[in-house]
């Protein structure tokens, strides 16, 4: 069930009431776990079995790793755990992709196979909970985490419903201490949690779905060939759509968790106020980029083994980032492109101009807009239906491929989307140094009411269809 559905509203109200009405902390956690499985089963009850099995397996592996002192045996246990997790992820998410790729490659050398539909359903959230399980097992192996002694607490770490299907990707060391003692009800977290839930819903329902999606869907339709201006319009509105969609989902998750007394890490920190792509990736999908840093980039040796090796490590890490996002070459290339851009920025800053040292507000704002433009260009690869479509659109945007001016989107729709987009960008640039949402607790009651009214109105006065969150597909 998605956060923007009436099903979730009923589920949340019932779960919240039952949770706070339960006196025992142990029973509360049991209740949360059981209802988290119900939440997951609402998509496909059969995949609950997979979730329970992988959770139990990794918990057992953690216990074994903790008790084992022989390093070769520990390595075998770690590899077994990683292999099981990656095999499950690989089968459900990538089997069709690799099959298609093999068929395409065979065609290149003259062997023709009929396309095969493996008919594999993707368990929702598998990319997210697999990464959480991997992080836990690796941390226990490295002795950076104590293995969980309570299966209930570990299961709750993996399964707690607000983050289960689209993150943020939690770390066991952050979550486990929160399961130790019950949280008192009377906290400002309740009010702030509700505010974050509605702000997140407003971003998703109102901005992503109603303002930006219609423009994006029109311009990225496979049969459309937008000119330069409309290609830019499509790319920028898609960047804003994916931000509002995913940041909206994450805010909902953080808000809902707060309403149950749990704190989740921030996942987006005004990414479009960033100066440079390195800064942007420190602010965009933070829980994923830090995961990749800690469990891929650093183990590869990051920049310890020289600049060139470091650059290669960075690009490889972002290739994986792309592959994590989706089983399609467009995503892989999008990831690789990001890696190349990050390397290019490092070289540029080292040898030409370190623009991050610019201190003036207008200068930083201008640099933020340039960063956003670069992000928008490569985001085309993320959204396009094919590499061919993406390449054509990107080339048109950069003036490398002349296409006649187009007017696919009605002018007033384009103006409206651009005006709203400009507001989102301006707000991010203005609040680039504001971290988290604790400031909501410090403002006056008038401001809090205004925030609540705005978020509620945006949700209540936006009836329509409820398309899935973009990141649910990953």
């Amino acid at each position: 069930m998605t956060f923007d559905s009436l099903t979730f509203a009923v589920f949340l109200a019932a779960t919240w009431a039952a949770y706070w009405a339960t006196p025992s902390w142990h029973t509360r956690k049991l209740l949360l776990l059981a209802l988290s499985y119900v939440f997951y089963a609402a998509w496909n009850p059969f995949f609950v079995v997979l979730l329970v099995a992988t959770t139990a397996f990794d918990w057992l592996m953690g216990r074994k790793l903790e008790g084992e002192t022989r390093q070769p045996v520990r390595r075998v246990l770690l590899c077994a755990s990683i292999a099981v997790n990656l095999c499950a992820l690989g089968f459900f998410k990538y089997a069709q992709f690799f099959t298609n790729t093999a068929i395409d490659l065979a065609r290149v050398i003259g062997i023709t196979y009929r396309p095969i539909d493996l008919g594999i359903l993707l368990p929702v959230g598998i990319s997210f909970y697999t990464f959480e399980s991997l992080a836990y097992v690796i941390d226990v192996f490295r002795r950076r985490s104590k293995a969980s002694t309570r299966l209930l607490d570990y299961s709750l770490y993996v399964t707690f419903f607000p983050h289960l299907v689209a993150g943020p990707i939690l770390r066991y060391n952050d979550f486990d201490p929160q399961t130790a003692a019950p949280k008192p009800f009377a906290e400002t977290a309740q009010g702030r949690g509700l505010a974050l839930l509605f702000i997140g819903l407003a971003l998703k329902i109102c901005l992503a779905d109603l303002v930006f999606a219609p423009v994006v869907d029109t311009l990225f339709a496979p049969d459309q060939h937008p000119g330069m201006a409309e290609s830019w319009l499509g790319a920028t509105t898609f960047s804003l759509q994916v931000y509002c969609d995913f940041a909206g989902y994450t805010l909902c998750a953080i808000g809902v968790a707060l309403m149950f007394g749990f704190r989740f890490p921030s996942n987006f920190e005004s990414p479009f106020g960033s100066v440079g792509m390195i800064d942007l990736w420190n602010r965009w999908h933070i829980s994923l980029s830090t995961w990749l840093r800690d469990y891929v980039f650093k183990p590869l040796g990051h920049y310890r083994r020289g600049r060139l090796r470091g650059h290669a490590n960075l690009i490889f890490t972002f290739f994986l980032c792309g592959l994590w996002h989706g089983a399609a070459w467009t995503f892989v290339l999008w990831g690789g492109l990001n890696g190349v851009l990050l390397v290019a920025e490092r070289i540029f800053r080292d040898h030409v101009w370190d623009f991050t040292r610019v201190r003036s507000a207008p200068g930083r704002a201008a640099l933020a807009l340039v960063t956003f433009a670069i992000f928008a260009v490569e985001a085309v690869m993320f959204r396009a239906h094919s590499i061919h479509q993406a390449a054509g659109m990107m080339a048109t945007m950069l003036g490398l491929h002349a296409r006649p001016a187009s007017s696919i989107v009605p002018a007033h729709d384009a103006r409206f989307a651009l005006a709203v987009g400009a507001c989102v960008l301006a707000a991010q640039i203005a609040t680039v140094n504001v971290r988290g949402w604790e400031w909501l607790d410090r403002v006056s009651i008038g401001w809090r009411t205004a925030v609540a009214v705005a978020a509620l109105c945006a949700v209540v006065f936006s009836p329509g269809l409820n398309p899935a969150f973009i990141y649910f597909q990953f």
Binding site: H412, A452, G464
Partner: protein, 330 residues
């Protein structure tokens, strides 16, 4: 909850509920009425009715079935579970194929379609609804839809054209308030058109322009090719028949210039009748059935909502005469 947050939320709730009430009253004063909004989820609820039903009736087609046949009335008259699976603006061949593949379906499929709708070019039009049902229909969506429907039944502001973003766009474009739709949809997807609430002449004119454009852009396939393609449709019909089910193709009434244009592009003798001679399913043409002669089609293609009970009874009578439902069922 900290007192200041509680106060802020209570105040916000009062303000938003007040604004919503005022907006609702304003829309009603402008003459808008609430209606259920059709979507893939509502279609899926109907598709669910076929699951486990013995000898159900599936009503397939486009708007001429959806806005003309009362599903409830069919169900009451026949005593058989009936599902409204027609989709406004989309021809139904994909739905026939889907029923053929569904080995549990052993009922009667009433397929409202004309020669144009049988053209291969239109076969995939309803596939989107089927894909949704097969791949995205979950318990969560079902509960959401069941909760949303009563809200749409009673609140005008739940209609998507009244989303603030849609209204802001209209304002920017200099367009007036949304068209006062003369369609009221029931939760079971049966639509009632009220021609007294709209400009019939304008609708008729626009329908004609659209049809002329359509036939200019998409000329019909030659009769031989059209007929050859239908071999596949016949195989789906036979699949249903082989397991005890029945299928009937029903060419619903059209009139005036609409009928003239259809006849000019898809002459009955070369298309409909040619297929009727080889079709494994009976084919009912409205002009052959006296029951359909008395209906007025204000826009040349659809009946008024008030005529739906009479039209439904007429269709049931024709189905009885063709031996597709039991005579006692009526």
């Amino acid at each position: 909850m900290a007192r200041r947050w509680l106060a802020a939320w209570l105040l916000a709730l009062v303000v938003v509920l007040g604004a919503a009430a005022a907006f609702e009253v304003h829309l009603r004063q402008l003459g808008y009425v609430p209606t259920v909004q059709d979507d893939e989820d509502l279609w899926s609820l109907q598709a669910d009715r076929l699951r486990g039903a013995t000898n159900p009736i599936a009503l397939l087609g486009a708007s001429r079935i959806q806005f003309a046949v009362d599903r409830e009335r069919v169900e009451q008259a026949t005593g058989r579970t009936t599902a409204m699976l027609a989709v406004n603006g989309a021809y139904p061949v994909a739905a026939l194929r889907w029923l053929a593949k569904d080995t549990s379906f052993k009922g009667l499929a009433v397929i409202g379609v004309d020669s144009r709708g049988l053209d291969r070019r239109h076969w995939e039009m309803q596939q989107r609804w089927i894909d949704h049902y097969e791949h995205r229909w979950t318990y969560a969506r079902e509960i959401h839809r069941l909760l949303l429907t009563p809200l749409q039944e009673y609140l005008v502001m739940m209609r998507s054209p009244f989303a603030w973003v849609a209204l802001a766009r209209r304002e920017l474009a200099g367009e007036p308030m949304p068209f006062n739709d003369y369609l009221v949809m029931r939760p079971d997807r049966v639509g009632f058109l009220d021609y007294e609430r709209t400009d019939v002449a304008a609708i008729k004119r626009q329908r004609l322009i659209d049809l002329v454009d359509y036939y200019r852009n998409y000329p019909p396939a030659p009769p031989a090719k059209w007929l050859a393609d239908l071999a596949q449709v016949s195989s789906w019909v036979r699949t249903i028949q082989a397991r005890g089910g029945k299928v009937v193709f029903f060419r619903e009434p059209s009139a005036g210039e609409h009928l003239v244009l259809d006849e000019k592009n898809y002459p009955r003798g070369e298309y409909w009748d040619a297929y009727a001679r080889i079709s494994p399913a009976p084919m009912i043409e409205f002009r052959d059935e006296p029951e359909f002669r008395s209906f007025v089609l204000p826009d040349t293609s659809h009946i008024d909502g008030k005529d739906i009970p009479r039209f439904t009874d007429a269709l049931l009578a024709v189905l009885v005469r063709h031996g597709l439902i039991a005579p006692t069922a009526q």
